[in-house]
Amino acid sequence: MSHPFVHPYVPNTAPESRQAMLDAVGAASVEDFYADVPAELRLGRALDLPEPLVAEQDLVRHVGGLLRRNRAVEPGRLFLGAGTYQHAVPAVVDEVINRSEFLTAYAGEPYEDHGRFQALFQYQSLMGELLNQDVVNVPTYDGYQAAATSLAMAGRITGRRTVLLVSDAHPDKLSKVRDYIAPTIDLVLVPTVGAVADLQTVTGLLDDTVAAIWVETPSYTGALETALAELADAAHAVGAVVIVGTDPISLGILTPPADLGADIVHGDIQSLGLHPWFGGAHGGFIAVHDDTRFVMELPSRLFGLASTDVPGEYGFGDVAYDRTSFAVREEGKEWVGTAAALWGIAAGVYLALMGPQGMAEVGETVLARTTYAARSLTALAGVRLADGAVHFREFVLDVTDAALTAPELVAAGRASGFEPGHAVDDGHLLVCVTEQNTQTDIDDLAAVLGAALAQKKEQNA
């Protein structure tokens, strides 16, 4: 490394600039500025890090080389979901969120960041139409956090501690929720029957100690809850809140949970125009009705429309800012920090492009291909559906009577370039089908798995 160290990311490292600035502040060296850092806390050596790749081309070669060791699955051959989905991403979405002005902005004020406020207000508004609710937050980290926050909100609203989870939920989401709500909520898992809520048992457990019921639809296994209205009525009858987790990608064809009695609706926006990113592109939404009892318990930022001094001009600002930890610190109901705003802008662009017709069509395509895949795969020897529920995008194959276990089926599919699904355990395979999986993809997968099962059966014979 040459000395002095002049790096393109860091102006003022050139000796001339550095000296001029030191002279201006009357410091002998930068050491002067660290006078408050005691000697015994000084590192006193260079950090032990790899030699820097100072030339851009070397950096690209190194990091690009590592990334080339990854291998994305050929489009359409991926049947993995379980929380992260490979839906189609329109090019315009990437174009917009990769613009410097959005990408590199942060917490600007409504004046110089008018575009950010409007884009996020529009995201809230577009989601509001999809959800049929009037209040949607600026995105929180992800669907896990949105679920956890929703439960905590219900606890505060009702002053009660018990929440009944009546659907199958992603185990990692449950882990997050349990960690988050430990101080305030006791979570009771009510086992499902046929992948949907056990209405009778749930009703029996409802009393005036229950803060909320929590319904996931589609659930972890893709099952749709058909008795949401009955569950909501029963919960409301004892003064409990109805919390529903959902995936907005389904709402072009499915009834918004709010129409069936949901009070707090939450979920993840990854499916709305975001690439899978190895599970790294999630944003959480929480929606409520325009009811102060609920709105004032939302800890997230809410951007609202406001008038300005100029007629005909839309201004924006924070709604009820004093709800947030920015204003009240330890009296805050949660915290506000850097979360997932850019992903919210992406989801807004996605919904603006899709429109009502696009959302209806993507819903229908996913449902049709899911149904087709379920039929094709259950035609294989020893393979059946794990339950009889209506499924959207995901379903579980019960392979306990098949010649191969779920992990073996996964291995067989991988050998032919597929990712056939997620082996939940030896006997169960969670399969995900989006609009990216064509009839040919599904037929090919069925053929590959069918051949593997037949071969195994032959070996066993």
């Binding site: 613009r99 924006f316 017709q357």
Partner: protein
């Protein structure tokens, strides 16, 4: 003969883009499409029939969502115009968002991360097919372990505040594992630490005790001694604090906390100025966190995605959130079988694009580069402090006369007393010069505050430009205060009426709520409501309101 060009004015002539861009719903043109969708093949249709009609009635949406219908180029144009009405860090001298470390997010990193070999990876696909990204996660963890002095790192959390949450959650798990969960009910923080420390501790069920500064502006050691007890679960402090002051007795703070059996949690959001100089573990901390989107140069995305990193001592390693990446020879794999872990606190393995950007950023700089970052950031900060304190009406309360590390919380109190112009008004006026400026977190323990954090990314000329802008506004406050009071003048929007935003009867978080509250449910009501709302509404022309109403009707049809 040379072309005659008049001398440039001292300050840049800036004007923000103004497109008078409608709300996206007002762009509705019935029947238009922004994108087409893959449709089921004939064979699929034949096999499954009309799947939507076959849904149980309760599941089938009765009317399509009232989303607008817009052609693709019009959507693009709309959002690109909004982007132009936004002042990103790539466009301004972004030193005015103190405590947030706005720095250069290298463009090469954007090129690197946009490969389909990253964007299209699924987190559950065969681990043999994702060895590159697992290696990057593993190596980034080791780099951050070295930078913090800690033993193990998790990159799972999605932002700094979520990482603070993971810190307090691990602290809770630690005390519970020792049977002291019920006994340790208090968390101690300082008033200058980021609000999320207090808020996360509160959300985790702890009583929060806040330490105020002593007469010299340093966190009050005697107050800490008085607050510590066998009830203390942890101290959670930011250092250097958001004032820019480095607490020289931080080692003593940690020692005292340990003496009562408490843990010490270090908020390293302001680590930028001490990279390679001093480390959390060197001061004895048990756990710390970094904000990758601050210290390690990933872009801030209008408020996320961020990315958090939790670094812990060997003693706390078992509690780290996860799964974690392990290495076996040349093979990297995910380990989720960790019974003492606080579990998954976010989906899968973290905000992957930001983790890869972080890896690229550290790789580009190395040890010497990180030190150059820190030293240049503090040099820039002390240079800017000198320029700012030369402006009549400014001061830097607490630890007056001392050097600062990464940032300074200043005060306009003197100017305010002279002119009545507040810090907030100065911030609005700064936007007219193409500069972002933010006051500070509540509570305003510094009166009329503003916090500047120049980082290493801005040249001396840019710092001068920023200081010149504030000097000009301070001059205006004394000589032509109406200019400041009536700002902004060069912005996309004008002075905005914030009263509506705090009134449940009048706030509008969505377009549909705005339509309902101000224009009623139907078109007939809309015209009347629109005329009536001239004074208090958001000022939409009745034309646009009725267009939107008909949009809703079209979509519902």
């Amino acid at each position: 003969m040379s072309l005659p060009i008049a001398p440039k004015p001292a300050l840049r002539r800036f004007h923000q883009a103004r497109w008078d861009e409608p709300i996206v719903f007002e762009l509705h043109a019935p029947g238009e499409r922004g994108v087409l969708v893959s449709r089921p093949e004939a064979g699929v249709r034949e096999a499954v029939g009309d799947v939507v009609a076959a849904l149980p009635a309760s599941l089938r949406r009765s009317a399509p969502p009232a989303l607008p219908e817009i052609g693709q180029m019009r959507v693009l144009k709309h959002y690109l115009r909004l982007s132009q009405e936004n002042l990103g860090a790539d466009l301004n001298v972004d030193v005015g968002q103190g405590t947030c470390t706005m720095k250069y997010a290298p463009k090469v990193n954007e090129a690197i991360i946009r490969t389909p070999d990253l964007t299209e990876l699924h987190p559950l696909q065969e681990q043999a097919s994702v060895q590159g990204v697992l290696e990057i996660i593993w190596k980034t963890e080791r780099m951050l372990a070295e930078i913090s002095g800690m033993s193990r790192v998790s990159l799972q959390t999605s932002g700094g505040s979520e990482a603070i949450w993971a810190n307090i959650s691990m602290i809770r798990a630690y005390h519970e594992s020792r049977g002291e969960g019920d006994q340790r009910t208090e968390v101690i923080t300082t008033i200058f630490s980021h609000p999320s420390n207090a808020a996360a501790a509160k959300a985790a069920g702890y009583t929060v005790i806040t330490i105020h500064p002593d007469a010299d502006g340093y966190p009050d050691l005697d107050a800490l001694r008085a607050a510590l007890s066998p009830r203390t679960a942890a101290i959670m402090v930011t250092n250097p604090e958001d004032t820019g002051i480095y607490n020289p007795r931080i080692g003593e703070w940690v020692r005292l906390a340990h003496e009562v059996g408490a843990l010490a949690s270090y908020d390293q959001a302001n680590a930028n100025g001490i990279l390679g100089i001093t480390r959390a573990r060197d001061a004895g901390f048990d756990v710390c966190h970094f904000n990758l989107h601050k210290t390690f140069g990933t872009p801030h995305g209008c408020g996320g995605p961020g990315s958090g990193a939790n670094a812990v001592s060997e003693e706390l390693a078992q509690f780290l959130p996860g799964p974690v990446v392990e290495r076996d020879g040349d093979r990297y794999y995910l380990d989720a079988d960790r019974p003492e872990s606080i579990g998954s606190v976010a989906p899968f393995y973290g905000v992957i694009p930001n983790i890869v950007r972080t890896y690229a950023w550290i790789s580009a700089l190395g040890a010497e580069g990180l030190r150059a970052v820190a030293e240049t950031a503090v040099l820039n900060n002390n240079y800017l402090m000198k320029r700012i304190l030369e402006i009549p009406g400014t001061s830097a309360p607490y630890a007056t006369g001392r050097r600062r590390i990464e940032q300074v919380r200043y005060s306009w109190q003197d100017l305010y007393e002279d002119t009545g112009i507040s810090s907030e008004e100065i911030g609005v006026r700064a936007a007219d010069f193409g500069m972002h400026y933010w006051t500070s977190h509540h509570p305003y323990i510094v009166p009329q505050p503003f916090t500047l954090e120049p980082t290493e990314s801005y040249s001396m000329a840019e710092l001068d430009e920023y200081a010149d802008v504030l000097a000009e506004i301070a001059r205006e406050a004394r000589e032509t205060p109406e200019i400041v009071r009536t700002a902004p003048h060069n912005q996309t929007v004008h002075h905005t009426h914030h009263d509506d935003l705090d009134d449940p009867e009048r706030w509008a978080v969505t377009w549909r709520a705005y339509q309902r509250k101000y224009f009623g449910a139907d078109a007939a009501g809309a015209a009347a409501a629109s005329a009536e709302s001239g004074a208090s509404g958001a000022g939409a022309a009745s034309g646009s309101a009725s267009a939107a109403t008909s949009a809703t009707e079209e979509a519902a049809a």
